[in-house]
Amino acid sequence: MDFMLRKEHEMARTLFREFAEKEVKPLAQEVDETEEFPRGTVDKMAKNGFLGIPVPKEYGGQGCDPLTYVMCVEELSKVCGTTGVIVSAHTSLCCDPIMTFGTEEQKAKYLVPLAKGEKLGAFGLTEPGAGTDAQGQQTKAVADGDDYIINGSKIFITNGKEADVYVIFAVTGTIEKRGRKIKEITSFIVEKGTPGFSFGTKEKKMGIRGSSTYELIFTDCRVPKENMLGKLGQGFKIAMHTLDGGRIGIAAQALGIAEGALERTIAYTKERKQFGKPIAALQNTQFQLADMATKVEAAQLLVYKAAMAKATQKEYGFEAAQAKLYAAEVAMEVTTKAVQLHGGYGYTREYDVERMMRDAKITEIYEGTSEVQRMVISAALLK
């Protein structure tokens, strides 16, 4: 067992950190205030190959391992939660299912431009009536000659409207399973600009405000049969497999947010003086920082372990769920304490920590709430 990062990982981390400091950090506050998608940053990340890190080189990616990708999301999220999730949704939720379940034609057509960063990806599963209960899909896809006709809508879609390629899920029929009728769900790749595919509401969010969260609307949207991802009726499995990987990405985002808040708090408490000395000299501050740092370290080990599991194991849902659950709850706790240790200043938008606290909350909710992670973990324990 070796807890030392390999040299290429160290080098990659340095690259991500420099990019984050130079290109992302200066814009973080503005992106949050204006709620504008940081298109310029995305273009720069594409140039640097950040949008295809775990994708093999023959498909236009960097051919790195999941850990390298996790570190990229982590470093970006240290300065800007929005930028972290753009990369995570694109890579884990759109590139990964096409890489895992796509045909060679689909990979050539979609994965290559996605991995190169020429196109941006998104994932459409959630509906107004189907959040945690993903089986509750209402969107339908009906075969019609050589096409499928899709009708319905999706909500809360990260990278919505900004993305060019969408992996979406729809009900194609019903199947008997253990004597019960359940919905047969199938996955499709849908491109922006397909007639009948439009965008609805843009959500006004508490945090990750530069992340573009949109409703997708399908009105008699025709998709050719060759855009079916995986097999007919395999959609639910594809969604769950994809989310296992996505959870590692969100765990990395949560970890990054917590680390960023901790870094800033350590610096602030050394500078800020009350009663004639830095507040870092107060034992309460010291103990708070000790707790925060210990939890962040524990979260990091879980997240990295999950990334390694994805690289080496066939199944990694358990590790991913533990990493996401813990990292998200640590992010919430650490950012809340970070605001407290900043005092009144921490509550103003001039300082970064209030934004981090707002950004942290979503990590407990999206790509499976903390409660879902507990369901996954306990189900594995009680098998």
Partner: protein, 348 residues
Amino acid sequence: MNLEEYKGVYVFAQQVDNIVNSIAFELIGKGKDLAADLGTEVTAVLVGSGVKDLADELAEYGADRVIVVDDPELKEYRTEPYAHALASVINKYKPEIFLVGATAIGRDLGPRVSARIHTGLTADCTQLDIGDFPLNPIPGKEQKHNQLLMTRPAFGGNTIATIACPDFRPQMATVRPGVMQKREKQAGVKANVEEFNPGFTPNNNYVEILEVVKAVSETVDIMDAKILVSGGRGMGGPENFKMLEDLAEVLGGTVSCSRAVVDAGWKPKDLQVGQTGKTVRPNVYFAIGISGAIQHLAGMEESDIIIAINKDETAPIFEVADFGLVGDLNKIVPALTEKLRAEMAHKN
């Protein structure tokens, strides 16, 4: 009080501006059923000034007899002279049952008259039957037959009460408009008219009417509307809301919408029903082209009657709908509007 003296079913034939209100025909229709059970007849009581010509219309809808109280004092509705007119009719003719429409006028008039002649009144009835009281015999208590059993919703519609008035006559009820069925009109039937004028002497209970204002229906706050015609994304575009406006106009309702419609910029936010819009409880809610996400249902599932029109038979809205139509709203809504328009024209 000798209950045996009281005979016949009487209905108050409300008129305003010498136009008989539809409720009068509904009461006659119901009165015919009650009279048949009792082996008696229906008498309409027409009160007003210069209203004799209206009597035949009451006969066309089935009134066996019309008592006309015609006096200049009765030109416009005022509580005192009208109450005097009806109380006098009751004292003279001794009806067994007296029905009044639960309109604004009827709800004012009914209680006055019942207090004046000291009898029971059940308000806003939705069902009337002839039957036994008590419904099931109670040992040691006399069970009376041929009683008017008056049923009405109480506590905001959360309970249903059936009420009888066994010891006093007439048995009086105000009846909710639109519930009872009028009979088919028999054109050309002449009324058997009896004129009666108890004499009117203005007293200090006579109010003076300064002005009558005809209400012009402005846009109603959707939370106050009794009938809502609500459109969703399935409407396809803002221009198609004309269909809903037509339907709402026929029904005297108001147009509302789902969040998707507001987001698309088709309608203003103050018409939005749902979790982040307004919570409404109309008597009738039309959900047209609305899929019925829980966020929307939360704002309208308390409606008395929900009617859903949607092309997708698996839309969740059908789970809460009392009535559902699967099909193309562009065909259904105009057809429904036309049918209702014809029906309403017939009604008034």
